[in-house]
């Protein structure tokens, strides 16, 4: 990143330094990559509980009598199927079906929706929504006024037992958390039970400290973007900008269940329907290395039969499985679980196998 670019800082910047974070630039923000160790933080979330600063993410409110109609035009999933207090994973596509962003939309009032979008896309998304709305609705970019924390892991429901009792999976409510009124959702990006807490920027430090001190006996750890990436990749949750771009579609990414073809017209519908009916040439496949290998990383070549069939879009060493894992677009014919492939690392090929998603199979 050129030195002329000023990185943005979340309200928790000083708290991260106090906790010994190694800071990195991510999507224009100066964010904690890790505090102690990615593997330790990852394990804390899988086995106990971890706390992430996700204030870099964007929040956009949409309100008005046309809000549902406008969102159903802009987004691939059907917002009319969720009630007040419910959440939905969805995508925003261009006319070619390419992914502009993936997001979670929360219906917070009958005619008010809150969208949490990726940090790198806040301005792009907001401009696109305003430019492509098919009816009048009020869009408000609340990103600068909003901080966000993710509390993830099995012990998160013990730490916030009262909230857990009132907010079921994929729901959201406006609740008091340690004296601060927040939007608190039972959602996340780790594959574990947990919460995402949206609060006023001024409340972030107190909430962060309260959760870390009250969570001490439950084995809580502050967690950085490094662990966030390894956790989501074990679950095969795509990262927009890496696993999805404006040049790839939800059908290719294996996200057809989040595309509601039975609702009224939406942006990208024709292109996506054609792909759904005729099939796609490539698919986002998940793979696992066979035995010891360097960790796969983005842009490494995926090879089958001595022929390059794709490229890694995300890769890492899985802390839970202790083996290299990744995802990448490969020719559909090859993208079948059990198919043998190879990943090319520094001119040498290492064996891997295509796996069913998610790579981490949960107990139930």
């Amino acid at each position: 990143m050129p030195s002329t670019v000023t990185l943005r800082r979340t309200p928790l910047y000083s708290a991260h330094l106090e906790w010994g974070a190694k800071m990195v630039s991510f999507a224009g923000w100066e964010m904690p990559a890790q505090y102690s160790s990615i593997i330790e933080e990852h394990t804390a979330v899988r086995e106990r509980v971890g706390l992430f600063d996700i204030s870099h993410m964007g929040e956009v409110l949409v309100a008005g009598p046309n809000a549902e109609r406008v969102l159903n035009h802009l987004l691939t999933n059907d917002v009319s199927t969720i009630g007040v207090g419910q959440a939905q994973y969805t995508l925003m596509c261009n006319e070619r079906g390419g992914v502009i962003d993936d997001l979670i939309v929360y219906r917070v009032e009958p005619s008010v929706y809150l969208m949490v979008v990726n940090a790198a896309n806040i301005e792009t998304d907001f401009a696109w929504m305003n430019a492509h709305a098919n009816a009048s609705a009020v869009f408000e970019n609340e990103s600068d006024n909003t901080a966000a924390l993710a509390l993830q892991g099995p012990n998160s429901v013990r730490l916030l037992a009262d909230v857990a009792a009132r907010v079921p999976h994929f729901h959201v409510a406006r609740l008091d958390v340690f004296g601060h009124e927040c939007w608190i959702a039972r959602t996340g990006y780790t594959g574990e039970d947990g919460f995402e807490i949206l609060c006023d920027t001024g409340d972030a430090v107190e909430l962060w400290n309260a959760l870390l001190s009250r969570g001490r006996e439950l084995g809580i750890r502050p967690c950085g973007l490094g662990a966030r990436d390894t956790l989501r990749l074990e679950m095969c949750y795509p990262l927009n900008g890496s696993d999805m771009t404006a040049e790839t579609t939800p059908i290719e990414a294996g996200l057809v269940r989040f595309v509601a073809f039975d609702k009224a017209d939406f942006i990208g519908r024709d292109a996506l329907l054609t792909q759904k009916e005729k099939g796609v040439a490539r698919k986002l496949a998940a793979f696992k290395m066979v035995g010891t290998s360097p960790p796969p990383r983005s842009h490494y070549a995926i090879v089958a039969g001595a022929r390059k069939i794709g490229e890694v879009t995300s890769g890492t060493q899985s802390p839970t499985l202790s083996v290299g894992i990744g995802m990448g677009y490969v020719e559909t014919a090859v993208a079948q679980p059990g198919a043998k492939i190879e990943i090319e690392v520094r001119g040498k090929s290492y064996p891997a196998v295509i796996e069913q998603k998610p790579l981490l199979k949960r107990k139930s």
């Binding site: 190694k22 990615i38 593997i39 490094g226 960790p295 520094r346």
Partner: protein
């Protein structure tokens, strides 16, 4: 940071222990701490000729791959085979069981180009 007094150091964060005409090379405590979570180590084959200041090995943490430079020129005469099953030894014991490889020096005069413990401490701001 642990910077043993009996070793020499490269600006690229390798340490060198001189044993007769052989140099034992590893990664410093500072470097392993910066990388953390080392999950893979790729070493040169025994018999390979390495050049001082040229990359000859790779250490991979969860988040990134880092080049390791040969601190001296010569022939690789031994590598730490334990690291293929236990790369975390580089984190746990960087100056001991986490050593990387040994080079039979072609020109021991190259050792004079390396940093003293004090200069390395200064280099990393310790």
């Amino acid at each position: 940071m642990n910077i043993p007094k009996d070793l020499k150091y490269a600006k690229t964060h390798e340490w060198v222990r001189v044993e007769g005409d052989t140099a034992v090379i590893g990664l410093t405590d500072h470097a392993q701490h910066e990388l953390t979570d080392i999950v893979y180590v790729e070493l040169p084959a025994v018999g390979t000729d390495v050049e001082a200041d040229k990359e000859c090995a790779v250490v991979e943490s969860v988040k990134a791959a880092s080049d390791i430079y040969a601190s001296v020129s010569g022939e690789v005469v031994a590598t730490n085979n334990e690291l293929s099953n236990a790369p975390e030894l580089v984190n746990d014991d960087p100056y001991g069981k986490g050593w990387l490889f040994k080079v039979k020096m072609r020109d021991p005069g190259e050792l004079n180009e390396l940093l003293s413990p004090n200069d390395y401490a200064h280099h990393i701001g310790a």
